[in-house]
């Protein structure tokens, strides 16, 4: 799901120990972003939802976590095009993918 070696070794030229704080910050920020998406979804606030999606897309693109960047970009584009999107389904989907990503990060740094 995540190509740790490509990002950490090739791009960041860092060690596992050096990069761990970045992943901890990422996980914490994503937890917060998903809570905010959920809140915007409950309120039916599509504008805030769209802005948050844009941020989620940016954060994950920077971290090269394509399994989140790509579906989020699709939902964002659909909203931009004025298409109807079920915000709750969308949040559940992002949350579910992130749970797997988070588990993978935890496993990687526990070894």
């Amino acid at each position: 799901m995540i190509d740790f070696d490509k990002f950490i070794v090739e791009e960041m030229e860092a060690t596992k120990e050096e990069i761990e704080p970045l992943y901890l910050i990422y996980s914490s920020e994503m937890d917060d972003m998903i809570s905010q998406l959920s809140e915007a979804s409950d309120l039916g606030d599509a504008d805030t939802y769209k802005r948050l999606l844009h941020n989620v897309k940016g954060i994950n693109a920077n971290m090269r976590i394509d399994v989140i960047t790509n579906p989020v970009a699709e939902i964002y584009q659909a909203l931009l095009a004025g298409n109807t999107v079920d915000l709750k389904d969308s949040t559940d989907n992002i949350s579910s993918i992130f749970a797997k990503v988070k588990a993978e990060i935890a496993e990687y740094f526990s070894n």
């Binding site: 960041m12 860092a14 970045l22 971290m63 090269r64």
Partner: protein, 155 residues
């Protein structure tokens, strides 16, 4: 670090800030971050003219980066302060506006290490602690990629 250059990152994603800090870890720079707790403008002004460069994200969660630059440029103290903008989308209008505001260059998101460092060194000088490979000068980018990220000229 003696004679370290000071770079102020105006970005409200902790992940992106940490990512940039890590990319600069082998450079003789002091990285500062403008938090949004009391408003970005106030946070930027609290550093005053102590900084050598501002990296300004244009799509902040609560504020518009271009408005902040306009605000800065309206103050004599910050008229010449070097600014590089960070954005996902680059349009002709954006480049024209950036030129008017004397922006020194732009970086496209997602951040690519070589381009990121090249842009910064163009403005503050090469402050790399570890010698960097300058054989290609493009960080492995194609000429097309390089062209897309050319600095905004401000003549």
């Amino acid at each position: 670090m003696e004679n370290a250059k000071r770079i102020l990152i105006v970005e409200d994603s902790p992940t992106v800030v940490e990512h940039m800090k890590m990319l600069l870890k082998n450079s003789n720079v002091k990285v500062l971050n403008a938090g949004s707790e009391f408003g970005m403008m106030q946070s930027i002004e609290s550093y005053g003219k102590l900084v050598d460069l501002i990296l300004m994200d244009l799509t902040l969660k609560t504020e518009n980066g271009m408005d902040l630059i306009r605000n800065l440029r309206s103050n004599d103290r910050y008229k010449e302060l070097p600014i590089i903008i960070i954005t996902e989308h680059v349009s002709k209008n954006l480049i024209l506006e950036a030129r008017e505001l004397k922006v020194r260059g732009y970086l496209k998101k997602p951040i690519q290490k070589e381009t990121f460092l090249d842009r910064i060194y163009e403005v503050v000088g090469n402050v790399s602690i570890i010698p960097r490979n300058t054989d290609t000068g493009s960080g492995g980018q194609t000429s097309e990629e390089k062209k897309k990220e050319e600095p905004v000229k401000s003549e």
